[in-house]
C-alpha cells in the first residue's frame, strides 16, 4: 500500500501532497520537511530507495523517489509494494502529467494543483494502484474536464450564450420583400436560428 505521495521542489516547497493514511495537519507538514531533508541529501547517482523517516513509520516503510529537474516525486510505500514497480509507476504518472499538460513543468503543477489531484486520482486510489495505462488515464481525465466545462460555472459562459441564442424564438422572417418594383432578397439566416 502506498502511504503517501509527496511532490516538492528543490527547496522543499510542496507542490502536491496526498496522504492515504490519516495524519494531523502539523504532522503532515513535519513529514514533508523530514522527507525533503532525507531526499535532498542524496547524490544523483545513488539508488532511489530510502528507509522512511521516523515520523512516517521508520524502517517499515520505504521512500521511493525520482528527481526530475526541479521536482522530487516521492512515494512512501510499505513492504507489500514492489520497489521497482513503484519506480515505473512514478514514471507513468509523470508521463501522464506530461501528456495532460503538454510538456509539463513546475509552473503547471503550481497553478493547476486541483487538476493534478484529479489526474492522480485516476492512477492511485486509496493507496492502491488503480490504472497504469497512460492512454486510458488521459482519456478519462479529458472526458471529465469536458464534462466540467459543459456544465457551466463562469468558465462555461460562452457555451451558455450560444445555447441561449439557440433557444430564442425568433419570429418568422419573410424570404422575399416585394415593394413594388424593388425585389429584395433576404439572405438565408437559418443556420443562425
Amino acid at each position: 500500500m502506498i502511504k503517501a505521495i509527496l511532490v516538492f521542489n528543490n527547496h522543499g516547497k510542496p507542490r502536491l501532497i496526498r496522504f492515504y493514511q490519516y495524519f494531523p495537519e502539523d504532522m503532515q507538514q513535519q513529514i514533508i520537511r523530514e522527507t525533503f531533508h532525507l531526499v535532498s541529501k542524496r547524490d544523483d547517482n545513488v539508488c532511489n530507495f530510502l528507509e522512511g523517516g521516523s515520523l512516517i513509520g521508520g524502517s517499515d516503510y520505504k521512500l521511493i523517489y525520482r528527481h526530475y529537474a526541479t521536482l522530487y516525486f516521492v512515494f512512501c510505500v510499505d513492504s507489500s509494494e514492489s520497489e521497482l514497480g513503484i519506480l515505473d509507476l512514478i514514471q507513468v504518472f509523470v508521463e501522464t502529467l506530461d501528456k495532460c499538460f503538454e510538456n509539463v513543468c513546475e509552473l503547471d503543477l503550481i497553478f493547476h494543483m486541483d487538476k493534478v489531484h484529479y489526474i492522480l486520482q485516476e492512477v492511485v486510489m486509496g493507496g492502491m494502484v488503480l490504472e497504469t495505462n497512460m492512454n486510458e488515464i488521459v482519456g478519462q481525465v479529458e472526458n471529465q474536464s469536458r464534462l466540467e466545462k459543459s456544465e457551466g460555472g463562469l468558465s462555461g459562459a460562452p457555451a451558455r450564450a450560444v445555447s441561449a441564442v439557440k433557444n430564442m424564438n425568433l419570429p418568422e422572417i419573410p424570404r422575399n420583400i416585394n415593394i413594388g418594383d424593388i425585389n429584395i432578397k433576404v439572405p438565408n439566416l437559418s443556420p443562425f436560428v
Binding site: D88, M128, L147
Partner: protein
C-alpha cells in the same frame, strides 16, 4: 455581497509574489477572511472556487478546517465541478475521526447510483480513501453491486473500494468473494489488476479466503501466459514488456496462494520457469518482474532446480550496474539467508565487495547481509573486511557496524587474542560510537584471559597514549592499567617491542586522563580508582598518588569528590587494609550482569599477592563500572556513609589476610559446629557452616586426601530435597595431594526458606593411580541450627 472572489490562479500568483513568510501569511489570512465571509453568505456560485483555494492553502500548511462543511454542501450539489472539488476536499480535509464524515454517507450512496460514471467514480474513490468502518458497512452492498456492472471504469474503482472496505471490516470478505472471482474473466487490464489486488488483500486478511481462491490459479496462469506470449501491445507497454504492473501483481498473488501448498506450487512451476528465463532484463520493468518471480519461487514449495535458478538470478542482480537492482537483490538475499544459507554464502564475495559501494543504502544492506553470513569458518576474513569498512564508513552506520562486530566476535572468535585484538581495533577506530555495555563486556573478557594480561595492557597503554578522546577505550585502558600495572612495569610482552614503562609514565597517563577536558565523569572515576589501585602495586610514587587523590577531594563533581575522600581515608586511617581492599579483581563470570549474592564464581588466582586457602568471595558490580567495587567494600567495613551505596549487600566478605570476619556484623562464625560429611578410603570431606541472613546457609567444604597417592579430577556434586535451593560454587581445584598436604575447598550456598530439615546426597568422583572411583553418600547429620 462580498467582493467578487479571486480566482484560484490569481491567488496562487499573489502568494508567489510574497517575499517573506510573514507576507505570505498576511495574504493568506486576508484571503481566508474573505472566504469565511463568503461561506457565511451561503453563496453557491463561488463556493467551489473558494474550497479549491482553501485546499491550496491547506497544502501550504495553513489551517483549513472551516471548509469541511462547505465540502459537504458541494458534494450535495448537482453540478459535476462542484462535486469534484467537494469530494477532493472531503478526501483531503476529512477523515473518519471527524463526525462530518458520516454526513457524506448519504451523498456517496446517491452518487453511486448516479447516471454519470464519473460521479459514480468520485463516490467510489472517496469511499475507498477515507471511509470509516460504519460507512463501509452501510455501503458494502452498493459496492458489491457496482462490482458486477459491465462498465470497466466503474468495475475497477469498485474493486479498489472493496479493498478498503475489506480492510476496515474484515467480516465482509465473504460478501466479495464470488464477485472477485468473476472479475478475473474480463479482458480489461485495469479491471484485472484491481481484481488481483482485491483477491490478494482478501487472502492476506483471511486464510480461509486463500483456500477458496486456490482454484483460480489455473486462470491466473493462463492470463500470465497470454501476457508473455502476446508480443508487442502499445496499450500496456512499459519498457518493451506488456503490462509489467499486472504481471508483478499476479506473481505476488501466486506467491500467497502457493505458500505451503505443494499442489498449487506444482501448477505454477512451469510458468515461473518461463517468466524467469524469458523476461528481458535490459529495462527496469523486466527486472521488476524477475525480482517478483524470484520472491515467489523462494516462498512457495518450488522444486530445487527452480530455487537454484532464483538464487542465480539474484547473484546476477548483485553484479548489475544499476544500483537499484543491487539494493533490492540484497534485500531479498537478507530474507533468504536464514532458509537457504548455503546458496547465499556462494555470493559472499560480491556482497562483501558491495561494502565499498558509494551508495549509502547499498552499503547498509551489504552490512546487514555480511553480518548474517558470518560463521565460524569465514570469521577472520569477514572481520578483516568489516574492520576496513569501519575505518571509512559513514557515521550513521558506525555504531551498528561496531556492535555487529562485537556480537560476531563473541560468537565465533577463533582465539582469545584475536578477540581482544579485534575489540581493541574497533575501540580505536570507532570508539565513540560503541554502545555503553561494551566497556564492562570487554573488561570481563579481559579478566577471563589471564594469559594475555601483559599483552592487553601494553596494547591499551599504547592506544591511550595516542588518543584519549574515545571514552570507552580510555575507560577500559584506565581500568587495565590500574589492575595490571605491574605488567607494564616489567615490560614483558612477546611481539610488541619491549617498551620500558616507568611508574611515572603510568601515573602521567592516568593524570592526563583525569585532567583532560575530553574525559567524561565516568572516565574520570575509572582513572581515579585505577590510581588508587596502583598505589598498592607500585613502590615509589605512592606520595604522588596520595597528592592527586587529595586534590580531588575538593572536586566539584560529587562522585569524584566522594571517591577521593574515601580513598584519602583509606590512606590515612586504614592504611593497613589498603592492600587487601585494592588487590586484584577476581575473574568476572560471564552473563553475571546484575550483581546478586550468589552469582559470583571465584577462581584461585596464582598472581594474587597473597595466596589463599579459602576462596575469596567479593561482590562484583559490573553494571555501574567495576570501580564502584572498592567503594562497596569500604562500606561493608563500615567506613563510608552507608547511605551512599545503592545496594544493600547481604553476603559475607572474607578478607584475605585473615580474621577480619569479626568486622562483619551479624555473622556468627563459630556458632554452628562443623561436621564430617564423608570419610571413606582416605578421603575426608568436612562441612563448615555459616548462616547468612535468615534462610541462607553457606557451607564451606574441605576435602582432604589421607592416602599415599594423589587424587586427581576430584569432582563433588550435591543434591538436596525439593524445597531447598542449592548453589555450588567452583572448587578451588581438582587435585587432592596425598597425605593431607593440601586440600580442595568449595562453597555450597543453601537457601531454605521453608526451614525444611536439611539433608544432602553427595556424589564424589576422583581418579587415583589411573583408576576412577565414584561414590554416593547421604549426609544426614546436619546440626539443627543449619536449618532452623
Amino acid at each position: 455581497m462580498a467582493p467578487s472572489s479571486v480566482k484560484l490562479q490569481e491567488l496562487i500568483r499573489l502568494i508567489r509574489t510574497a517575499k517573506t513568510q510573514a507576507e505570505e501569511r498576511a495574504i493568506i489570512q486576508k484571503e481566508c477572511a474573505d472566504i469565511r465571509s463568503s461561506f457565511r453568505e451561503e453563496d453557491p456560485s463561488f463556493r467551489c472556487r473558494n474550497v479549491a483555494k482553501l485546499l491550496y492553502m491547506h497544502m501550504l500548511g495553513y489551517p483549513a478546517h472551516f471548509g469541511q462543511m462547505e465540502c459537504l454542501k458541494l458534494i450535495a450539489s448537482p453540478r459535476f465541478s462542484d462535486k469534484r472539488v467537494g469530494y477532493l476536499g472531503a478526501m483531503l480535509l476529512l477523515d473518519e475521526r471527524q463526525d462530518a464524515s458520516l454526513l457524506i454517507t448519504n451523498s456517496i450512496k446517491n452518487d453511486m447510483n448516479h447516471n454519470s460514471q464519473y460521479v459514480q467514480g468520485l463516490a467510489l474513490c472517496t469511499l475507498g480513501c477515507m471511509g470509516s468502518s460504519e460507512m463501509c458497512r452501510d455501503l458494502a452492498t452498493e459496492v458489491e453491486r457496482l462490482l458486477k456492472t459491465s462498465n470497466s471504469y466503474i468495475k475497477k474503482k469498485a474493486a479498489l473500494s472493496a479493498v478498503h472496505v475489506v480492510r476496515k471490516v474484515p467480516e465482509l470478505i465473504e460478501l466479495y468473494i464470488p464477485a472477485a472471482e468473476s472479475l478475473l474473466g474480463g479482458k480489461n487490464h485495469g479491471v484485472l489488476h484491481s481484481a488481483v489486488v482485491l483477491i490478494t488483500e482478501m487472502c492476506v486478511r483471511n486464510p480461509e479466503a486463500t483456500c477458496k481462491f486456490k482454484k483460480v490459479v489455473p486462470e491466473l496462469v493462463q492470463i500470465m501466459k497470454n501476457l508473455i506470449m502476446s508480443g508487442y501491445s502499445p496499450e500496456h507497454n512499459v519498457g518493451g514488456i506488456s503490462d509489467p504492473f499486472l504481471q508483478v501483481q499476479m506473481l505476488c498473488l501466486m506467491r500467497i496462494l502457493g505458500q505451503n501448498d505443494d499442489e498449487v506450487s506444482e501448477a505454477m512451476n512451469d510458468i515461473l520457469a518461463q517468466v524467469a528465463t524469458n523476461t528481458d532484463t535490459s529495462k527496469n520493468a523486466g527486472n521488476a518482474i524477475l525480482y517478483e518471480t524470484v520472491l515467489t519461487i523462494m516462498d512457495i514449495r518450488s522444486e530445487s532446480g527452480l530455487r537454484v535458478l532464483a538464487v542465480n538470478i539474484l547473484g546476477r542482480f548483485l553484479l548489475n550496474s544499476d544500483k537499484n537492482i543491487r539494493y533490492i537483490a540484497m534485500t531479498s538475499l537478507l530474507k533468504m539467508v536464514q532458509t537457504d544459507h548455503n546458496a547465499v554464502q556462494r555470493h559472499r564475495g560480491t556482497i562483501v565487495d558491495c561494502l565499498k559501494d558509494t551508495d549509502a543504502s547499498v552499503k547498509r544492506r551489504a552490512l546487514d547481509l555480511t553480518f548474517a553470513l558470518i560463521n565460524g569458518h569465514n570469521i577472520r576474513s569477514m572481520i578483516k573486511e568489516l574492520l576496513q569498512f569501519l575505518d571509512h564508513c559513514p557515521a550513521e552506520l558506525r555504531s551498528d557496524c561496531a556492535s555487529g562486530i562485537f556480537l560476531a566476535a563473541e560468537k565465533y572468535a577463533p582465539s582469545k587474542r584475536w578477540h581482544i585484538d579485534t575489540i581493541l581495533r574497533v575501540l580505536t577506530t570507532a570508539g565513540s560510537y560503541v554502545r555503553d555495555e561494551t566497556v564492562p563486556n570487554l573488561i570481563q573478557l579481559i579478566t577471563n584471559t589471564s594469559e594475555l594480561y601483559a599483552y592487553t595492557v601494553h596494547k591499551l597503554y599504547q592506544a591511550v597514549l595516542a588518543d584519549i578522546s574515545q571514552q570507552p577505550l580510555v575507560q577500559v585502558a584506565a581500568w587495565c592499567i590500574g589492575e595490571y600495572g605491574e605488567f607494564l612495569l616489567s615490560g614483558t610482552c612477546e611481539e610488541e617491542k619491549t617498551v620500558k614503562v616507568t611508574e611515572d609514565d603510568m601515573l602521567d597517563v592516568l593524570e592526563m586522563i583525569l585532567q583532560s577536558h575530553m574525559s567524561s565523569p565516568a572516565t574520570r572515576g575509572y582513572a581515579l580508582t585505577s590510581l588508587m589501585k596502583l598505589s598498592t602495586r607500585i613502590s615509589d610514587n605512592v606520595d604522588r598518588i596520595r597528592k592527586i587523590v587529595s586534590i580531588y577531594g575538593s572536586c566539584i563533581d560529587v562522585e569524584l569528590q566522594q571517591r577521593a575522600i574515601e580513598y584519602n581515608t583509606l590512606f590515612k586511617k586504614y592504611d593497613h587494609m589498603r592492600v587487601a581492599v585494592l588487590e586484584r579483581m577476581p575473574v568476572i563470570e560471564k552473563n553475571s550482569q546484575v550483581c546478586s549474592d550468589k552469582s559470583t564464581k571465584v577462581l584461585n588466582d596464582e598472581n594474587k599477592p597473597f595466596s589463599l586457602s579459602k576462596p575469596n568471595q567479593t561482590e562484583v558490580k559490573i553494571q555501574n563500572a567495576a570501580n564502584q567495587q572498592t567503594v562497596d567494600l569500604l562500606d561493608l567495613i563500615g567506613i563510608s556513609d552507608p547511605s551512599s551505596t545503592p545496594v544493600v549487600q547481604n553476603n559475607q566478605e572474607k578478607m584475605v589476610g585473615g580474621e577480619l570476619l569479626d568486622l562483619l556484623g551479624g555473622i556468627n562464625f563459630g556458632a554452628i559446629p562443623s561436621i564430617t560429611a564423608y570419610n571413606k578410603n582416605g578421603l575426608t570431606v568436612e562441612f563448615f557452616f555459616e548462616k547468612v541472613g535468615n534462610n541462607e546457609l553457606s557451607i564451606q567444604l574441605k576435602a582432604k586426601n589421607a592416602t599415599a597417592k594423589d587424587m586427581k579430577e576430584f569432582i563433588l556434586q550435591a543434591a538436596v530435597p525439593k524445597n531447598i535451593q542449592i548453589h555450588l560454587q567452583a572448587p578451588s581445584g581438582s587435585v587432592l595431594p596425598a597425605l593431607c598436604s593440601g586440600c580442595v575447598s568449595q562453597t555450597i550456598l543453601i537457601s531454605n526458606p521453608n526451614k525444611v530439615s536439611l539433608k544432602m546426597r553427595l556424589r564424589l568422583s576422583y581418579s587415583i593411580e589411573g583408576s576412577t572411583v565414584q561414590d554416593i553418600c547421604e549426609v544426614n547429620n546436619f546440626p539443627p541450627q543449619t536449618w532452623q
